[in-house]
Symmetry: C2
């Protein structure tokens, strides 16, 4: 029986999964990511883990359709990674190296794009060919799927929507060095920053002022409990996020926008707030764009990696 491996390479652990030729997830496991020594052991470790798995399961390697892998960095269409800071990698031809180690075909993508591909295929996208996934975590990431395929970009930077400039007059700098990036407002960190900034400038009373360290979840919780300052901060957050998503629609006009990452745990409350703000900024033709919460959680990466193999 034909089979596929999906690999989601993160800075701490590597998630590996075995799929059948139809894309059903049969088994998954993890190994640690060893970043010492310029991350030199990472690909050999993955190759060994897959070899051992095949031996243990009695899988015939001639039935392997290939290995898909999502990496935490910009990957071009040839499977070459420019650099992955988290893995201590410089430029690396991941496709050639992993293929050389395993003798199997290898397909490479950026982790955010690959997770988007997974969600578009088996998650909230529900086999949707035109989708944008936005990951609201410590930063803001994204992946663009058009015609059922990940859009990589010529420099591997497609879907880097956290660095869309929403506020050219911003004075504080984003981690990328620019000012006014979406990530400074629409991430978990950005939401906390908006809350602290509001408390510092308005002097408003709020339950948030007593919380240290303040988290995005605290802001959502306080707003739910009627804290006016938290509610105003959330409105500001929704407004930036609505502008970001509407601006994305002007470029690629997807069918569905899927929200993932830690902030998406706020659930329906987040969806409702974002959709209202989106309505204020979206070009009329794209008004009916659908919204959904990501549904595959940590498995989005291995699903998308398998999809790289099974044909986008």
């Amino acid at each position: 029986m034909k089979f596929v491996f999906g690999v989601d390479l993160g800075g701490t652990t590597v998630k590996l999964a075995h799929f059948d030729g139809e894309g059903a997830l049969l088994s998954k496991w993890e190994i640690p990511t060893v970043t010492e020594n310029g991350g030199a052991a990472i690909l050999p470790d993955i190759a060994r883990a897959l070899e051992q798995y095949m031996a243990r399961q009695g899988l015939d390697r001639s039935d392997a359709l290939g290995i898909g892998i999502g990496v935490p960095g910009a990957a071009d269409e040839k499977g070459v990674v420019a650099s992955c800071d988290n893995l201590h990698w410089g430029r690396l031809d991941v496709k050639a190296e992993l293929s050389g180690l395993t003798g199997l075909p290898v397909f490479v993508g950026n982790d955010a794009n690959v997770a988007a591909l997974g969600e578009s295929w088996k998650g909230s996208g529900n086999n949707c060919a035109n989708m944008v996934m936005v990951t609201l975590g410590t930063g803001v990431g994204g992946g663009v799927i058009l015609g059922g395929r990940q859009v990589c970009g010529v420099h591997g930077a497609a879907g880097e929507i956290g660095h869309m400039v929403l506020e050219p007059k911003e004075q504080e700098r984003c981690n990328c060095g620019k000012c006014g990036c979406a990530e400074q407002y629409c991430s978990a960190t950005g939401l906390v920053r908006l809350a602290k900034r509001r408390m510092a400038t308005t002097g408003e009373k709020s339950v948030l002022s007593a919380i240290e360290p303040l988290t995005a979840k605290d802001v959502f919780d306080a707003a739910k409990q009627g804290d006016a300052c938290a509610a105003a901060v959330l409105e500001q957050f929704y407004d930036y996020l609505g502008q970001l998503l509407a601006n994305i629609c002007c470029v690629v006009d997807p069918e569905v926008i899927v929200l993932g990452g830690g902030v998406s745990k706020a659930g329906p409350m987040l969806l409702e707030g974002v959709q209202a703000a989106f309505g204020r900024y979206v070009y009329h033709a794209s008004r009916s764009t659908r919204f959904a919460l990501a549904s595959l959680g940590n498995d989005a990466g291995v699903y998308g990696a398998a999809k790289l193999v099974l044909g986008q």
Copy 2:
């Protein structure tokens, strides 16, 4: 010999062109666009013009690979147009109707997307598969080409980059009903608006204040002649345009951005100003994105339409 027709349907004239099967332009001509009566005569007029041309040239219709047509409105992937205000059309299945009238395969696209496809194929894109074309005219239009294919969008609104919101605090309204759209700053009209706004608020002396009606070209000319107010207005214009183009790169990360439309007649001066501003807003990975001026002029539409037939 195999051949193709490319049609660029505008509000005043229809441009028609005959290409060989390799995409060489052999002949082109125009007919008027008759918009009376809900634009009912438009497609029959086009069909008749092509039939007459084939008869006159002794072309064998079995050699025709098809007709490509760009229309001034949102066209979905099935060739159905939602509405074209300029043509007085409501919803119309252009593909089915024109195919029924001619007995030939028909391929339909939005005019801005189709012009972008033409530029990416035979113009400044120089066979570039990943390109964004930005048309700076009365409004701001755009077309996104990825993998050598036009991106239509699920609602036909991909490439509607003129309606990306750059300035959420803007008080004046864009024609689309929203506030702060790129079109309010980056079009010929937008540039004039920026100039008038600056003169009204600063009271600065400028040669521009004596010119009525003021045009975008006047602003470029005055800046070239050392008018400080015009130069400051142009800087503001470049800044908005740089932000717009950098924001597009965050989504699709193209290889080349091609600038077309009336404002692009400002030439190298425009390119230089925009690239400097782009550098301030672009995410570092996309920093090497190339810029070019459109080179096909009014022929971009018929070239792109032919390319729709010849396979994107």
